[in-house]
């Protein structure tokens, strides 16, 4: 298969933190088991945006449904892993490190970045937008940039006057100069300080260069995705972007909270792709939207408790839209642990799909095993390998 990709492939991850309720994202609206178990927390059949005879989008997901109708969304149904962990942290950790059975400090995208930029030449190869670097992006010795506010990013951002800030940065650079014999921890600090300086120095052109007619919303996910767009369109060699939207831990009051999250998310995602299209920068971008677990099949009268078997989305122009894998069975004797949706495809297979078919990397050393993949890319966008 030949590739027609002119530019390097770019991968954007959107993490929905807290455990998104997949059953109320893509609703099995013709299945009575759903309504029997979701006495309170159901989306009435007449409200869903039908995808087919059995599944419908949450009404607030209209912008993503629109992308789906334009053939740009691959729905990965039933994504998960065996014996899903219900702890948020541990659950997310497992998604970040690909090690369900032990605690690891190596993130799967950290390993990916190491392959993409083996000598760590560009600290912007991987960028996180948000507060705190996700474990997925970390690996000792692999430079990665973490930006909480693109417009003020960088060291000494509290020093207002630019002349003085530049002076301070110059001194910082000298202070963090690599010296011989100061010990490995000092060396590491010097290296890290220089990476931050270098990254901040390159990234500052992004907000300056960027112009767009797209008006993003005010939500934090909209701000983050706009930042991704600004950096991506600036052409700084970034290959992996990471960002997250929190608030999906809907133990209580799910009914009023989930629609707002979906509204913010789907509008931000649609605006993002419109923005890339406007910049003719969309044919090398694929986005993964995932959450650490789904939620319990039955509601608790106010929300839903932690469960397993969720869903993920791959979005972008290179994507061949449609439903992938299988929607978890609602048949009671197939419920995992007697109360959860079973998983029908392993998340590491979806990572593998992106690594091998999109980023041209060998998957198994990164996801630590061989897992079933899907074929979600349009023929002309397939990687060469």
């Amino acid at each position: 298969m030949t590739t027609v990709r002119k530019k390097e492939s770019v991968f954007v991850v959107v993490q929905l933190s807290g455990g998104n309720d997949f059953m109320n994202t893509l609703v099995p609206y013709s299945n009575p088991v759903y309504y029997d178990n979701r006495k309170l927390l159901n989306i009435p059949a007449e409200d869903v945006l039908p995808l087919n005879d059995s599944l419908g989008w949450h009404p607030e997901m209209a912008p993503i449904k629109d992308l789906y109708d334009r053939d740009m969304v691959a729905v990965v149904q039933g994504i998960g892993y065996p014996d899903s962990n219900r702890s948020h942290f541990r659950g997310m950790d497992i998604w970040h490190t690909c090690t369900p059975d032990e605690v690891s400090t190596v993130g799967w995208l950290g390993s990916t970045l190491e392959q993409l930029d083996p000598r760590g030449e560009n600290p912007l190869t991987g960028i996180n937008f948000g507060v705190g670097l996700p474990k997925a992006m970390t690996k000792m010795g692999v430079p990665v940039t973490s930006v909480s506010n693109l417009d003020t990013y960088g060291l000494m951002s509290g020093i207002g006057a630019s002349e003085q800030r530049d002076e301070a940065l110059e001194i910082f650079k000298n202070m963090y100069a690599q010296a011989i014999g100061t010990g490995p921890v000092m060396d590491y600090l010097s290296q890290t300080g220089n990476d931050v300086l270098k990254g901040a120095d390159i990234i500052k052109v992004a907000p300056e260069k960027y112009e767009s007619t797209i008006e993003y919303g005010n939500s934090s996910i909209a701000k983050s995705l706009r930042d991704v767009a600004r950096v991506h369109t600036a052409g700084l060699g970034s290959r992996i972007f990471y960002t997250q939207q929190g608030g999906y831990d809907t133990h209580a009051n799910q009914l009023p909270s989930q629609p707002g999250l979906f509204r913010d998310l789907s509008r931000a995602v649609a605006d993002f792709f419109d923005d890339l299209a406007e910049h003719d920068a969309d044919d090398n971008v694929v986005m993964l939207i995932f959450s650490e677990f789904g939620r319990r099949i039955y509601d608790n009268g106010s929300g839903t408790d932690h469960g397993s078997g969720g869903g993920a989305f791959l979005v972008g122009k290179p994507i061949k839209g449609g439903l992938y894998s299988e929607y978890p069975s609602l048949d009671k004797d197939r419920w995992a642990k007697g109360e959860d949706l079973e998983h029908t495809i392993d998340y590491r297979g979806i990572y593998g799909t992106v690594l091998e078919q999109w980023l041209d990397l060998e998957a198994s050393p990164i996801v630590l095993g061989d897992f079933e993949q899907i074929k979600p890319f349009r023929d002309e966008f397939y990687a060469t390998k």
Partner: protein, 467 residues
Amino acid sequence: MSSNDLKLKAHLLRRAGFGSTRSELEALEDKSYEEVVEDLLFPERFPDLDEDYINRYNPDISYHDIHPGNSGKWVWRMINTKRPLEEKIALFWHHVFATAWYKGEHTPSQLAQIDTFRKNGLSDINTILLDLSKDPAMNYWLDNCENHSTQPNENWGRELLELFSMGVGNYSEDDIKNAARAFTGWTFEQPQPLYPYGSYETSFIYNESDHDDGEKTFLGKTGNFNGEDIIDIISEQKATAKFICRHLYTFFVEDEPQVHTWSIESPRNPQALEQLINVFDKNDGQIKPLLRFLFNSDFFKNAMFKKVKNPAELVAGTMKVVGKYSVIPQDGEVVATLNSKVSVMGQDLMNPPTVEGWHTGQEWIDGGTLNERVNFAVDQFNDPTSPGIKDILERLGKQINSKDLLDKCLDLVGPLEVSEDTYGALQKYANAVGDINLDGNEFKQENIEKITRMIQLIVSTREYQFA
């Protein structure tokens, strides 16, 4: 006070507490180093903090959520306590016995656990482990409430041995099983009221009917052991002495490799560790004599700036020098801010990532956290009207020549020792600033800003990241 003496006391207060202001250091002038150590070891000599005001005027501090309010309040305690070692030893045991709020989301028991560490943290290992075994937050965190006579759950038994006392390689899988059996029936009162919102406090209960009273063999001893017996046996193990001493060494003296590598990686200073183990043994696992020995040892005194500050140390220590967050709220000060600062640097207090606790030392630092750490410190020193900067300006005097500016600032911020490169880079700035006269001339404001900038540069150094 000689400058060496002052440096040493500052070192002691960084390690046994959360740093010191210059006035606090000067107040110790009449005390010997050894006397300061004794004061630290007997927190009850000093008054406890009065929490009434902060509890009343900071609605963030709720019984529903650990953060931002309650963990922010802990940082406030670190900044303002007159009993620094009490908070520091609580943080130490929190590092070792990592229990996180996110699983149970039960705030009262999480707070009670930290308070237990404040109270028993300097006692002895037997008391500490026994209290821990009865601690409701720990009990739920490691599922001992699911550890039944008919169906044992090994989670607590395993971590007690692996992470809290002896370390891997010093016991068998059978020891774990038997330890778990001995703790069956150790549970807590149901704290959750059905309606309305809120949680009751809870306490330990021993449910005899759910206890497996059969014979157990544990670490070579056989009997109808209960939990207390297991703790007694553990407390006498050489492995426990070694493991706890190594923890104390890495927390108070010098960064060791990460805990999970200890069965493979040898200690940085085997001799020092051996000395600590001896003291531990001689005093039946009492922490106070052990820390007395540690703080007075040469290896401790020689370990100045050999540890990467954990985020709590960085934030509390910086706030102390800046002179902020003594009474919250004041203009621009919110208790939640203190938690958001430590958590973006990777240390969400009372909510560690796993039972393994935080990875410390060098692993506190990555591009994102370094950016946060530097900007945090620079931002705190941005306001020349803050009490800390005012104090520094006063101490600098009205006439400061450029040669003195750097040395005096380094001294007043720490005293901080920096490498030659760092010193050279800072010296260039000082030279560019030139001699400063703060005596009412028209450039006063500008000159104050130049000094402020000097301090900001100092707190952005690599060296400032070390305690």
